[in-house]
C-alpha cells in the first residue's frame, strides 16, 4: 500500500518558485508513492498553493525538478501536464460559472483520451457525488459552496487522473459539509488513486493521510506520520508563533 519498492508517482526535488521576484518556494522536496495520500500542512501564505501551481505548470519553477512517473515535467505547459494525468483541483474551485454542471464536468474530460470515455466517467463521478446529477442542468454559479467544491473535485476526476492534487478542499465550507466532502475524499483514496492534498487546518488529516509534510515559509519544516506531526511542538510554533 505504501508502495515499498515501487517508484514514487510524484517526486519533487529542491523546487524554487514564486511570482515575479517574490520567491515563495525556497527548495521544497517531497514525494508521493503509489496509492498514498499525502497532506501538506501549513499556515496561509507559506507556499502551499504556489507548490501545487508550480507542479501543475501554471507557474514556472525557477529551480529544482518535478518528476511525474518517469516524465520530467519541468518546462511542460499546464495542459500537457494535465494530459499526463496529473490533475490539479485548484483553490477557490475556478468553475466555469456560466456553464452548466454537466458542461463543467465535460470540460474535465477535455483531453481526447478522456472524452472517448465520457459516459462512463460521468457515471463514476455521479456515483460519487449524486448531488451533481440532480444539478446537472444548473449553471455552476448558482450552486451552493459545498456543491461547487464537489463539482470542482468531480471535474478533476473526469480527466485521466493518475494523481489528484487538491488545494484546500475545506476552504470556506461549513463543518458538516467538510465532513461529507472528506468522506468522499476517503472513498477516492480507497479506490487507490494517489492524492496530494494541501490544507491550512490540521483538523481532518488523521485517518486520511499516510504521511504529512509541514510547509513553513517556503520550505519543508517537518515530515512524518500524522499522529507524530500533530504532537510535534513545531506545529504550534508555526501556526501561533509560540517560541
Amino acid at each position: 500500500m505504501s508502495g515499498i519498492g515501487g517508484r514514487p508517482v510524484l517526486e519533487v526535488a529542491g523546487l524554487h518558485s514564486g511570482y515575479g521576484e517574490t520567491e515563495v518556494l525556497r527548495g521544497v522536496s517531497l514525494h508521493v508513492n503509489p496509492g498514498e495520500t499525502i497532506v501538506v500542512l501549513g499556515p496561509n501564505g507559506h507556499g502551499k498553493t504556489t507548490l501545487l501551481r508550480t507542479i501543475s505548470g501554471l507557474i514556472r519553477a525557477t529551480a529544482g525538478d518535478v518528476a511525474f512517473g518517469s516524465r520530467d515535467t519541468r518546462g511542460l505547459a499546464p495542459d500537457e501536464i494535465a494530459g499526463l494525468g496529473l490533475i490539479h483541483v485548484p483553490q477557490g474551485d475556478l468553475l466555469y460559472g456560466e456553464m452548466t454542471v454537466l458542461e463543467n464536468l465535460k470540460m474535465g474530460a477535455y483531453r481526447a483520451a478522456a472524452w472517448a470515455e465520457l459516459g462512463e466517467r460521468l457515471e463514476r463521478v455521479y456515483l460519487l457525488f449524486p448531488r451533481l446529477r440532480e444539478r446537472q442542468k444548473q449553471l455552476a454559479r448558482t450552486l451552493s459552496g459545498g456543491e461547487r467544491r464537489m463539482l470542482s473535485v468531480g471535474r478533476g476526476l473526469m480527466g485521466n487522473s493518475a494523481l489528484l492534487m487538491l488545494d484546500e478542499p475545506s476552504l470556506g465550507l461549513a463543518p458538516v459539509v467538510i465532513d461529507e466532502l472528506y468522506d468522499r475524499i476517503g472513498e477516492i483514496r480507497a479506490s487507490g488513486l494517489p492524492i496530494l492534498l494541501v490544507e491550512e487546518s490540521a483538523t481532518r488529516i488523521e485517518g486520511l493521510a499516510d504521511r504529512v509534510y509541514l510547509l513553513e515559509n517556503g520550505t519543508i519544516a517537518r515530515e512524518g506520520a500524522p499522529a507524530d506531526l500533530l504532537a510535534d511542538p513545531a506545529l504550534l510554533q508555526t501556526y501561533l508563533g509560540i517560541a
Binding site: 499546464p78 495542459d79 500537457e80 475556478l94 468553475l95 456553464m99 465535460k106 470540460m107 478522456a114 471535474r155
Partner: protein, 294 residues
C-alpha cells in the same frame, strides 16, 4: 402601420447581419480580452472572396459563403500569429493589441484595394424576386435568404459552442483561463480557433451585407465594424446572448431612425445611443456595472 412593418422588416435584416459581426467581436473579446479591430477588414475580405467565388467563377452562393468563412478564418489565424500573439500578456497589451490589429486591418484593406481596385463591384444576388405586402412593404427574397443564412450560421455556432469538445473549451477559456489549462486545454490553440471562428463569422457577415447592398468596395468594412462594436458593447462585451439581443434591438433602432429621420442620421443616432448606454450601463445589457466588477 405600414411604416412600422417596414421598420421591422429592415431591422430584422440588419439585425441578422449585425449579430454575426458582433458575435465575431464578442467571441474574440470573451476569450482573449481584447478588441480585434482587424475584423472590419476581414469582413470586407470575406465579401471579396465570395465575389470571386460566386460572382467571377460562377459557383453557387453557398460555395461563396463557405469559401469566405474558411479562407478568412485562416487569415484570422495569420492575424493572431503576426499581430496578437507577440503581445499577449505584455503590460499594456490591451491598447497595444488594439493598435496592432487596427494596423493589420489597414494593411488588409489596402491589399484588397491593390488587388480589386477602389471601385464598386457588383455582388450577385443569392435569390431574385420579391413579394409585395400592402402598399409600402416589398419583401425581397434576397433579404429573406440573408436572414435565413444568418440564422443557420448562428444555430450551427450554438451547437458547436454547447455540444462539441472544442466549442466547450472556447467558452471555458473565456470564463476561466487557468481552469481550462488545468483541464488540459491548450489555451494557445483555443485562441487560434477563436480567431479563426471570429474572422469566419465576420466574413459571412460581409458576404451577407454586400448581397443586400448589391455592391461592395474596399472601405465598406469600416463603418460596419463600428456598428458591430456598438452592438457588442451594448450587448455586454463577451456575452453571447446579450449580443444577439443587442443586434436585433440595434437593427430595429437603425431601421427606425432611417425610416423616420432619414438615412444620414443612422450613424450619429447609433453612436449617441452607444454613449447613453455606456454612461447608464457601462457593462451593457448582460454585463455588470463597473463597481460590481472590481
Amino acid at each position: 402601420m405600414s411604416q412600422i412593418s417596414l421598420v421591422i422588416y429592415q431591422g430584422l435584416v440588419l439585425g441578422a447581419i449585425y449579430a454575426l459581426m458582433a458575435l465575431a467581436f464578442t467571441l474574440v473579446y470573451g476569450a482573449l480580452r481584447f478588441l480585434n479591430l482587424s475584423l472590419g477588414a476581414l469582413f470586407t475580405l470575406g465579401a471579396y472572396v465570395a465575389f470571386v467565388i460566386s460572382g467571377q467563377l460562377g459557383l453557387p452562393a453557398i460555395a461563396g459563403i463557405v469559401g469566405a468563412f474558411v479562407l478568412v478564418g485562416l487569415a484570422g489565424v495569420g492575424v493572431y500569429q503576426i499581430a496578437v500573439r507577440p503581445l499577449v500578456g505584455r503590460p499594456g497589451w490591451e491598447i497595444a493589441s488594439i493598435i496592432s490589429t487596427l494596423g493589420v486591418g489597414i494593411v488588409i484593406q489596402q491589399l484588397i484595394q491593390l488587388v480589386w481596385g477602389p471601385r464598386n463591384q457588383a455582388m450577385p444576388e443569392i435569390v431574385s424576386g420579391n413579394l409585395r405586402v400592402g402598399d409600402v412593404l416589398v419583401i425581397q427574397y434576397q433579404r429573406v435568404a440573408v436572414v435565413l443564412v444568418s440564422l443557420v450560421v448562428m444555430t450551427a455556432l450554438w451547437f458547436f459552442l454547447t455540444r462539441s469538445r472544442h466549442g466547450l473549451a472556447i467558452r471555458a477559456v473565456a470564463q476561466n483561463r487557468d481552469a481550462a489549462y488545468l483541464n488540459g486545454a491548450s489555451v494557445n490553440r483555443i485562441f487560434m480557433l477563436v480567431m479563426a471562428l471570429g474572422s469566419g463569422l465576420a466574413a459571412v457577415a460581409g458576404v451577407l451585407l454586400s448581397t443586400v447592398l448589391i455592391s461592395l468596395n474596399p472601405t465598406v468594412g469600416l463603418s460596419y465594424a463600428l456598428r458591430g462594436l456598438v452592438v457588442t458593447i451594448f450587448g455586454g462585451l463577451g456575452s453571447i446572448t446579450g449580443t444577439l439581443a443587442a443586434a436585433f434591438i440595434i437593427g430595429l433602432f437603425e431601421a427606425f431612425v432611417s425610416v423616420y429621420l432619414g438615412e444620414g442620421w443612422k450613424l450619429p443616432a447609433l453612436f449617441l445611443f452607444l454613449i447613453v448606454v455606456l454612461v447608464i450601463r457601462p457593462g451593457g445589457l448582460a454585463g455588470v456595472s463597473a463597481e460590481e466588477r472590481t
